[in-house]
Structure formats: C-alpha cells, structure tokens
C-alpha cells in the first residue's frame, strides 16, 4: 500500500453546511472518498491510500486539477483506492464535493 498526501490552498470555501459525506466503494478499479468539513476555509487536503504503488505523479496532477476546478476549501478528502483509473478518481472527487454540498447523487 502506498500513502500519499496533498495539501492545497483553495480559491474559496466549499458551500453548504454538511459535516461529511461518503461516496464510492473499495473494489477493483473503484475507490471510496470520505469528505469531511474539518479544515480552515481556504485549505484542502487529500489523503490517499492506494493498492497501486508508483502512481504518485498522476495522483498529484489529478488532485491539483480537482482543487482548481472545484475549489473545495475547508474539506479533507480521505481516499481508500482499489486501483481506480484517473478518470474514475476525478469523477469520485467531484461526486464527493457535490455530496457534501448537499446534492443527492
């Protein structure tokens, strides 16, 4: 298992008042994202535990792209990954933010 952690400054605080949400499942090619509103308004942290070692650079790019697009300020996103591809990871990250913002998925 590989442990990766990225901390970013976000443009703004993610809207909504929910404390947390969970999306996805740990299965082959899939991942779960636990999102918690526990950080200062402009901070976003993504903490990853993945079964596929050696893909840190791709994770770094996917996470940076996510922070720029969604501006998830105040959120800590914890990931358990079962070897998902980058497109799946991007979708789950976006889904997690929408879930904590209050939209039903």
């Amino acid at each position: 298992m590989e442990h990766l952690n990225y901390r970013h400054t976000a443009q703004q605080r993610a809207p909504g008042s929910k404390r947390m949400a969970l999306v996805g499942v740990v299965a082959s090619g899939n991942l779960e994202v636990l999102v918690e509103r526990v950080l200062p308004d402009r901070v976003c942290e993504v903490d990853i535990r993945t079964a596929a070692a050696g893909f840190g650079e791709i994770w770094r790019l996917v996470v940076a792209d996510f922070v720029e697009r969604r501006s998830p300020g105040g959120l800590k996103l914890s990931i358990n990954d079962g070897g998902a591809r980058p497109d799946m990871v991007s979708l789950r990250l976006a889904q997690a933010v929408r879930a904590i913002e209050g939209e039903r998925l």
Binding site: M1, K18, R19, M20, A21, L22, V23, G24, V25, V26, A27, N30, E32, L34, E36, R49, T50, A51, S78, N80, D81, G82, Q95, A99, I100, G102, E103, R104, L105
Partner: protein
C-alpha cells in the same frame, strides 16, 4: 448512482420503485428501506474502525469495513439495522465487520423492543481474517439467538450480488424470518466450492441455470428456507421487512422441535430428488420446468399455493 452518507431530501417513491435492490449500494438499501431521513449510523466511516488484518496482506481497507449498522424508523417504529456492502471484498465477514453486527444484536437483546433487520450481501468469511472471521460468525449466531430469546424479531433480507453464502447463510438460518428475491442466493457452500470438492459431475458451477434453481430465491422460498419472496425493488423489500417483523415466531423449545420436525420431513419427502425441478414437481407444481422463468406476481401466487406448512417452525 452511488451512496451518499449524509441524507438529502427524501427520494421520491418513483425513484425508489425503479431502483433495483440488487444494483443498489448497502447505504442506498438502508436509506430506501427506512422512513425518510430517519437513519442514524453507529460507528460511521468517520470513526475509521477498519480491519487490523488487511494491511498485513497489502490490501486496501474500507472506512466502514463493509458493514453499516445503526438505527432508524420503519413506519414510525424504531428498528435496528445492519447492511453488508457486497462489493467490498464480497461482503465477507472479518473481525471488525462482524463485531459491529454482534454489538448491534446485543444492544437489541438488552433493549428488547427494537426489531433487527439484517441486509445480507456476503460470500462468507473473509479468508484473510480466517479465525477472526469464523469467531465473528459464531458470536453473531449466538447474539441472534439471544436477541430472539429476549423476544426481538431478527429479520434477514437477501437479494444482493454476493448472495448469502458460508457463515452468512448460517446466520440467516438463525433469523426469525427471511425474505429473498430471485437474485438472492442462499447456500452454505458456493457453486465453485462444491465443484472443487466434489467434482463437476456433482455440481457444474458454470451452469448458471443449475446454480439459480439450486440456491436461488425461488427455490429457497418454495422449500421453506425463506418466508417471503420479494421483487427486486427497494419498496418490495421494505414491505417484506414490515410484514416479517409482525409474524416472527417465538424462540422456544416448541419452535425448535417444530423446525426439527419440518427439516426431517423435508429430507423424507425430497431426499431422493436429483434436481430442484424434481422437488418442485413432487410439491405439486404442474409445470416445474417453467418456474425459473415466472414473473414476480405469477411466482408469488404459485408459492402461496404450493407453500409447505409452516408448522410454527424456524
């Protein structure tokens, strides 16, 4: 479509009625089964109570260890509920996964007034946690019996992609009552296990029709392994849960004697049958070979007609 832990607005009835139980996540099943926004989780994913064993095998963990437990309302009455996520390690029982269900059942035993719903979706014991998983199964079976002795109905619901196999099927056998859908399969040994141990002549695990008519929900309903047959929708399982809570038999020596008698009769009547179709024929089905293709309503009508006498057993 996926699980959302934090409740949103109540999903409208149309959305749920079109929603397959088989295709739903464990969290969606819980949410759709209970009254709107009534679910309160115990030891939720934010507590990160994960398996202490999987990292030894370099395997990924899941925040809830594949078991969701909590309480909620069913028709405004409080219930305790547990659901397995069949997509995480086949819904298999590990140490933490099992302990969450044991704790829920012990709470039910002490509270006495809250029925328990168990949403099975499991291949059995998680092999990486072999001994801890086997112990978990034993503890859960004991806890089910203790809860039932305290007068608590414990209802099993089976209709997930992993079915209800191994230790999970033993726990289902201890429940007050079980509802199963066509997609649900209940068996101690899975198809591949039987083929591996006894050979392909005994059981061809690639023969899907054989697997379904031997272990599938229709057969289990007909021979009395399940009290109700549910359609593969969330509202149908909700309806089954509601009815089975009301008709849970008491747990006492008379019930066990009746169950022993019922099982003895089953062997006597069907022991010589080579295939489920032979069983259905000897039960009185005029077109037994047509049963696997019957639609939900047709099958329910047939099952009610052919039903084995319940004999106050379980």
């Amino acid at each position: 479509m996926n699980s959302v832990l934090v409740e949103g607005k109540d999903p409208d009835a149309t959305w749920w009625s079109a929603h397959s139980w088989f295709g739903a996540s464990a969290r969606e099943r819980v949410r759709g089964l209970l009254d709107a926004d009534s679910f309160e989780e115990f030891i939720g994913p934010e507590h990160r109570e994960m398996s202490p064993h999987l990292s030894l095998f370099d395997l990924p963990e899941q925040f809830d260890d594949g078991m969701i437990v909590g309480r909620g309302l069913l028709d405004n009455a409080p219930v305790l509920i547990a659901a397995q996520e069949g997509r995480f390690m086949g819904g298999a029982f590990g140490e933490v996964h099992g302990a969450k269900l044991t704790g829920l059942l012990r709470a039910a035993r002490d509270i006495r007034s809250m029925p328990v719903l168990i949403l099975f979706d499991t291949g059995g014991v998680r092999l990486q946690e072999a001994n801890a998983g086997e112990l978990a199964i034993s503890e859960i079976m004991r806890a089910v019996i203790e809860a039932r002795l305290a007068g608590v109905p414990v209802v099993g619901l089976v209709g997930g992609r992993a079915g209800c196999y191994g230790g999970g099927s033993l726990i289902a056998g201890c429940c007050s009552a079980v509802a199963v859908s066509e997609h649900g399969r209940i068996s101690v040994s899975g198809p591949e296990v039987i083929e591996t141990n006894r050979g392909v002549e005994e059981f061809d695990s690639k023969d899907r029709a054989l697997v379904w008519r031997t272990m599938g929900g229709k057969h289990r309903r007909l021979i009395g392994g399940a009290e109700m047959f549910a359609d593969d929708t969330v509202p149908s399982f909700r309806d089954a849960a509601r009815r089975l809570i009301k008709r849970a038999p008491p747990m006492n020596v008379a019930t066990l004697d009746a169950e022993q008698y019922r099982l003895g009769k089953r062997i006597e009547r069907f022991g010589a049958c080579a295939d489920a179709v032979d069983v259905w024929r000897s039960m009185g089905a005029t077109e037994p070979q047509a049963i696997p293709a019957l639609a939900y309503e047709e099958f329910v009508a047939l099952a009610d007609r052919l039903e084995e006498p319940a004999l106050d057993a379980r």
